[in-house]
């Protein structure tokens, strides 16, 4: 979907990070979902390594 296609669509937003950005969008009636974002696997290196090893095997 190109940039010009985007201009013709209704904006539907996924917000990752600061909640206030999502609140502002909702206050304007924009379709938006806020992601309760956390670093993958808590950002802990050991977990991330495990996760990538497991995912490689799949």
């Amino acid at each position: 979907m190109s940039v010009n296609d985007l201009f013709k669509q209704e904006l539907k937003v996924v917000n990752l990070g600061l909640k206030s950005f999502h609140t502002d969008l909702k206050s304007q009636g924009v379709t938006a979902v806020h992601v309760n974002w956390k670093p993958k696997a808590g950002g802990k290196k050991k977990m991330l390594d495990l996760l990538s090893k497991i995912n490689k095997v799949k």
Binding site: W37, K38, P39, G42, K46, L51, I54
Partner: protein, 331 residues
Amino acid sequence: MTMRVMKARTIADDLVDFLANNHGCLARVHSTFHHAVNLLIRQDELITLTNQGEIAPMGCMVDGNDIFKQYLRPGDEVILDMDRIVAANGAFSVYLCEAQVWKSEILADLDPRPLDELEQTTHQLTEWLGQQPALGLLPLLAPLTNQGANILQPDNNIYSRYIANDLKDFTDAMLASDWELALSITDRLLGFGMGSTPSCDDFLAANLLVLSLVERLNPGFYPWVGGFCNTVANKAERSTTLISLNMLRHAGNGKMSRSHQRLVQTCLFGDTGDLKHLANQVLQHGATSGGDFLLGLVCALNWYRNSKMDHSKEGEEAWVESMQSQPVSIL
């Protein structure tokens, strides 16, 4: 944006074993509830995390009041390590190190109650159960415990009405010591009823639990029990929900969640607490799960009492005969 860290308060010993031998593996979320989540491991086995309710086989109780449904969706990945369980999406982790380990198997090395006490206990429990709201399969209490009541009452609900005759056939077969017939009747029971653990499965789980304990209490007297329990579990793979399948497997291995465990222990071995209080704890499970389990329990206790009386009547001969029984065939 920091990960929610929970601490495990209690962990089942079978889960500890699993993690020790399989650490660093991935589980997938099978189902989520407000205060519990089931994780799928291997082909069809479940691990349960919960912060309300109670500890169960392959279970772990954690602190806090979090709503698991907010963190996970079925299909999400969860990393299982030896000392912790971590949601791959980073929503939360559970630290296991300080948890108390709960023995999931009912101890069968205690002294069993003498028969007359067992009869009294069964009678007390049946009477108490008769006073509870007749939900699920409970309308069938009187006919199934041979109190002479008509099997089909007008106030039976649609489920109990439909299954009444099959359940009666099952309990009659058990009382007649025709375990092979009873086993074949389970085809007409498994997967039937309301709930993620259908009513008949709860009923059967109570039976399997008692059977497996009774077999351990009386080695050699019930050699068919192992095969019976395995077969029911195998049948369940095709005929009921995954959650129920896991419950039935555990029951066949003498394991069930703590309140059920304590109640059955009290019935068979005596004095681990107030009978009515423990029965009430079980009754609270689900909408009808507890009641259906209790119905199964009183039926199983009746069977056990009956069979013990048979055995003592027949004496040595019966013992020899059962030792020479056909080896159990696992269908």
